[in-house]
């Protein structure tokens, strides 16, 4: 019985240790850089969940690593208007293609699905309404940026 309790406490400690830390959305928004005229902004985020918490692959946009998919974390990328591809890879690569207009903000949520040996992390496009309900509880995991 003692062993089971200890295992549960240890598991809880490991899992909570996986959640992102950093300024919350409201705090970070107050210091967000202005968007350049020819660009749009893409928020990448992942809600905090114990499912696949240890799986935190890099997020690539147009082939370049732009951050990590971390439970409870978010970051943003300012990019030129046009066609873009977001991708995450674990044992398989999952891609999302979308267009970004000048001045537009898009939201990409990464979610974990069961895999064969490891969880798959799927980038999915979500509406601003949905994202704005989920973002306030998340922590900024991106590098500070100045415009």
């Amino acid at each position: 019985m003692k062993f089971v309790s200890l295992a549960v406490i240890a598991a809880a400690a490991v899992l909570t240790g996986c959640a992102a830390t950093g300024p919350k959305f409201a705090q970070q928004e107050s210091v967000m850089p202005k968007l350049a005229a020819e660009q749009g902004r893409v928020y990448f985020y992942r809600v905090d969940s114990m499912l696949g918490a240890a799986v935190r692959p890099p997020v690539k946009m147009d082939g370049a690593a732009v951050g990590d998919s971390v439970p409870g974390g978010y970051f943003f990328v300012d990019a030129a208007a046009g066609n873009h591809e977001a991708a995450t890879s674990t044992e398989a690569t999952n891609k999302l293609t979308f267009v970004l207009d000048k001045g537009e903000t898009k939201y990409v949520r990464t979610k974990v699905q069961m895999g064969f040996m490891a969880g798959h992390v799927i980038p999915e496009l979500v509406s601003a309404d949905e994202a704005q309900k989920e973002l306030p509880s998340l922590s900024f995991t991106g590098a500070p940026k100045a415009n």
Partner: protein
């Protein structure tokens, strides 16, 4: 799936079978089939509201729901029909990957999707839509 059932036979070694299933799992479902198309955009297209909810089953097996009251902006024209872009919501089609999608409507029916990032058309079994201005 039928193809998979045919190639699995009792003579196969478990390790080979396991590799086969693993490969099938990694490949996931089919890609979203699409063909290049050219959209002629419309500037300041008017907005339409969907009168009733529509459920769709994509060829890849995934489902999508177009909500009652969702708004769509006339975005342009492709050879397959008129392109309506989601207004303040998003639509994607999904197979082995996910693609942003706008709907293509012809003679009052949804006939497919315009994939703006790919500049391509993906056909869909026609589904009747009704809009109010």
């Amino acid at each position: 799936m039928a193809r998979l059932a045919i190639i699995i036979c009792p003579a196969m070694k478990p390790s080979f079978l396991c590799s086969l299933l693993f490969a099938a799992f990694l490949c996931g479902c089919a890609a979203v089939a699409h063909q290049p198309t050219t959209m002629t955009p419309i500037a300041d297209g008017d907005r339409l509201t969907l009168s009733s909810e529509v459920s769709l089953r994509l060829a890849t097996g995934y489902g999508r729901t177009l909500k009652q009251g969702s708004q769509w902006t006339r975005a342009g024209q492709v050879a397959q029909g008129e392109v309506l872009r989601p207004y303040q919501h998003v639509l994607t089609v999904e197979g082995s990957h996910i693609h942003e999608a706008w709907i293509v409507v012809k003679d009052g029916s949804l006939v497919g999707f315009y994939l703006p990032a790919e500049r391509a058309f993906s056909a869909q079994e026609p589904v009747r839509l009704s809009f109010k201005p």
